[in-house]
Symmetry: C2
Subunit: 86 residues, 2 copies
Amino acid sequence: MLAKELIGVCAGILTASSLVPQFIKSLKEKKVDGVTPFLFIVLLAGNGLWMYYGILLKDIPIIATNSFSIIMDVAMLILKFRYRKK
Amino acid sequence: MLAKELIGVCAGILTASSLVPQFIKSLKEKKVDGVTPFLFIVLLAGNGLWMYYGILLKDIPIIATNSFSIIMDVAMLILKFRYRKK
């Protein structure tokens, strides 16, 4: 792996891993407050476009990071609806 | 601007703009809860590496997006310490 790619992969691991604590917290507390579904949809669109951009550039770090981010966005959206106040 | 770059810029605007609501909310409510300083430092490191990666690739969308993200991370860290419970 090129040094450049290694930097991209490390960057991706750091930024992607920062999504995990909030997900675990929401799972434990069975609530997703402080963030609107709209925000997750904006993030989903952004990460989706970044993934497409990564595919155009054939750039593994960008594709891998944003695939993981998309999974986290969808998971948070599911929790948001599952734990919404009825 | 190449179509590819336009996609990257749009992706960047979407993901970067998703940071703004939380910042405004923290400013209004004068508190930054649910996120640890450690998380912002991880994000700062990740965005810093992404920016370095963008510089290596000479990739404007990656550089621009992560510069904005770094500013937001630092701003949130400042709010986190300013509004911490004494």
